[in-house]
């Protein structure tokens, strides 16, 4: 939206543990269409970072190209951002993460950016288990190039162009589970109550965390006949369950009914308690997650919530056995072996 926000700040705005208000997590004004789902996800990211008391400047936000990929300019103004090229955000994020393991990496992509041109990169960043949050703003179309069907558009769904999509849809979540991603979730831009906790859990997860957010394109793909419209998604979405967080060291006061809750401890000690609904399945099991996704797909439903979580995986740095200190903090003394060693090396070349 192009409307300017008032500069006035209310003195009583709530502050988080770091003393920051929500404002401190905002970005520039959005230039997306009024009502675009992507703007709601932007707000979700702002809210999640605010609630988790993330230091804004310790975040690196990256994206590819598309309406969705523009959004990093609209959140976290105090963070460095990198709007890369179409489909290549995962590689840039990989390099960035290798250079400094201590930052939080938030990658934003679109369904075109991820499921078509960037599919190779998406697949490989997932299998590398890069420690990052990978958000797909999934509208089933190419917004920025004016509404062509994307590879996540459901077969038979039709956008404003009116021609039903004849191709099979790619389910990024199902794929990510198969690829061994440690955190896979699906949200809906129209459901903030669910989205913000999903994003928070993804941020706290160590390793690759995919959050596929269905995010209607109001301009090109919000028709009666589209399965990525607000209307359709609201009518067909089923949550895998609700959940809440118990941050590290906080006493657990709530009592959960036996069998109705599944608890998963995250890397930093936070515990997620998943309250099972009728759609319940064991989210720590890959096979269960895939079955659940397939079952819902067959019924024409969209399964949302945390779909899979595995806290036991090694991330890229663990796999490569890199030093604990960020590589970009190493000094010349720590990196250069010196002339004496060089001359020793040459002994093997004589």
């Amino acid at each position: 939206m192009n409307s300017r926000r008032p500069a006035f700040r209310h003195p009583d705005l709530p502050k988080n543990d770091l003393g920051y208000t929500r404002r401190d997590y905002e970005g520039g004004d959005s230039t997306l269409c009024a009502g675009c789902g992507h703007d709601s996800i932007t707000n979700g990211i702002i809210q999640a970072c605010f609630e988790l008391s993330i230091e804004p400047h310790r975040v690196a936000k990256l994206s590819g190209i598309g309406c969705s990929s523009k959004t990093p300019a609209y959140f976290l103004n105090k963070s460095h951002g990198f709007n890369t090229v179409h489909g290549r955000m995962p590689a840039i994020a990989t390099g960035a993460n290798m250079a400094n393991r201590d930052l939080l990496y938030i990658g934003v992509s679109g369904d075109g950016d991820t499921a078509s041109i960037g599919m190779g990169q998406f697949v490989h960043v997932a299998r590398r288990n890069l420690n990052m949050v990978y958000i797909v703003m999934n509208n089933g179309c190419y917004g920025l190039t004016k509404g062509q069907d994307s590879a996540t558009a459901d077969k038979g769904s039709s956008s404003r162009k009116g021609r039903p999509n004849p191709f099979e849809a790619i389910d990024l979540c199902e794929m990510a589970v198969q690829l061994g991603a440690g955190f896979v979730a699906r949200g809906f831009s129209g459901d903030k109550e669910q989205l913000v906790p999903l994003l928070k859990a993804a941020i706290l997860h160590k390793g690759f965390a995919l959050v596929d957010v269905i995010s209607p394109c109001v301009t090109f793909n919000n028709t009666e006949t589209s399965t990525k419209s607000y209307h359709w998604v609201r009518d067909h979405m089923e949550a895998s369950g609700t959940f809440d967080f118990i941050p590290e060291r906080q006493e657990i006061t709530a009592r959960y009914e036996e069998g109705a809750t599944q608890s998963v401890a995250l890397h930093d000690g936070t515990v997620i308690h998943l309250h099972k609904s009728d759609n319940a399945f064991d989210v720590t099991q890959r096979r269960a997650a895939i079955n659940a996704l397939e079952d819902h797909r067959e019924k024409g439903q969209i399964l949302t919530g945390i779909l899979h979580i595995n806290e036991t995986l090694q991330d890229t740095h663990d796999i490569l056995e890199t030093t604990d200190k960020p590589l970009n903090a190493l000094t010349q003394e720590e990196l250069c072996p010196g002339n004496q060693t060089l001359q020793q090396i040459f002994e093997t070349y004589r």
Binding site: L62, L320, T322
Partner: protein, 610 residues
Amino acid sequence: MKKLTRVNDFVIRFANVNGSGSASANNLFAKAVFRLGIPVSPKNIFPSNIQGLPTWYEVRVSEQGYLGRRGGYDFIVAINGQTLEKDYDDLLPGGYFLYDSTRALSDHFKRRDITPIGIPLTDICNREIKNPKLRPLLKNILYVGAIAFLLDMDFSVLTDSITKQFSKKPKLAAPNIRCLELGFNYASEHFKDVCKLSVKRSNKLSTHILMDGNSATALGAVYAGATVAGWYPITPSTSVIESFDTFTRQYRLDETGKRKAAIIQAEDELSALGIAVGAAWNGVRSFTATSGPGISLMNELLGLAYFTEIPVVLVNVQRAGPSTGMPTRTQQSDTLACAYASHGDTKHVMLFPSNPTECFEMAADSFDLAEILQTPVILMSDLDLGMNDHVCLPMVWDDSRQYNRGKVLDREQLETLTKDWGRYLDTDGDGICHRTYPGTHPEKGAFFTRGSSHDEHAVYTEDNDAYKRCMERLTRKWQTARTLVPKPRIKTDDGTAAGGLILYGTTAHAAYEAVEMLGKKGIALDTMRLRGFPFQDEVCDFIDRYGKVFVIEQNRDGQMRTLLMNELCLVPDNLISITHIDGTPIDARFISQSIETELSKTQPPKGGAL
């Protein structure tokens, strides 16, 4: 017949089947010559295949220190039946033809101007070596032993090399040494005084090393402090990263044994360069290494790095194109593709090493250059330089040297900023602006990097003037680059030269030798070896000085000549292209003959309407 008779001055060519273990035997021979103190230059001419196709290994032995290819073969070791006839025909008159006489040569082989040396290699192996699995490998060692006798070599150098090579598995040394002896003895019994080529210990080499360019490049990256490498395997660049991996596993570990380097084998070259770009953006020195097909894939990201001003080093070990071309043969055919890689107005800094010493130095310098200029720097190596061993002096790392990380604002500097800061705000006119790394300061220095057009404060803009200002500043930066890239090496005599000669990269050895050859015939040429792009004034001045300037290169279209004309706005009349394109390294005889032919042509009338 007059037999070729020379000491420490000949070319020997081994013709083998690839995958038969011949390379290590042939290398054993080359290394022995090196250890005898004689300048030597081995060149492996191999197929893109794992087993069964023809492969050649050429060794030039040159007391005088000529390390390029000379052209022609004086001694051929013909072990490959598939190429026997061709190898036979390729031998120079007066030369020696060593073959496996287990099978007699057919009637075709009736040259009277050469000396055949038949040794029943297979027979001897079958008789003497019990384990049939070892026979093919040891057959190669057998002919090395025979050559040692024929060339009158100090035998102990070979046995010492074997002992050294198998120091960890001494059991394997014994059969190898026995085969050397078998070959040596057979030759001494049957071919006494037959071969008039010989190898005599010399003192031409002192502290020299025998090293491939890719290892030297990798060492340069280690010494320059590179920590992140993204890559995708491709001949002939693969060993750059593999060496970087080996060196960092040894010399870059922290106290707990963890690695101070991250090497990622990516899914393709787009990702490989993307990883390097992301890492450089986040404040480390990073690089990738590839060859032609990878360069084509990297184009979009090179443009991104150019326009967003991210310092990244790209090592291009060139091979013969186009497309898959000849993946295991050498060429200098990516000059233009790299100079202007990517869409839109882009230009890239290039460095042209011509030996392992320069691979090391230029690799190390390229990281400084990239960070000073905040732009990609491409190191233009090639297969000949990268994968063959070259005699060179050991490089020296100046321990007092400090990495020049360019204009980067740290937390202190951000804290005390008094003036307006913009990521793309040029404050001193050199076209280079101050950058910041992510995570440096809670309130200051964050900016948004984007490949779309941006103003001085890195804010998206479609304002025509802002876009123009940015592009013009990048041109200013290019002018700054001219002052920083390595200067050409110019050799001029007393002003009597008949013309000038421009060369770069691995053409150097053969070209300098050709110039000497021509000099002896009374044709004096001044030379200029290009070492960097953009070109400096010296380059233009050199070309202006002569009526004829030969541009020697290893590609079809004279790409460097085109680049010179384009960048220096030259009228091309006096720039004569001499190109060598068959995929083998260029040789001195080819160059001198081509120049003689060109000079014998009548000079076309100069001038006309401009």
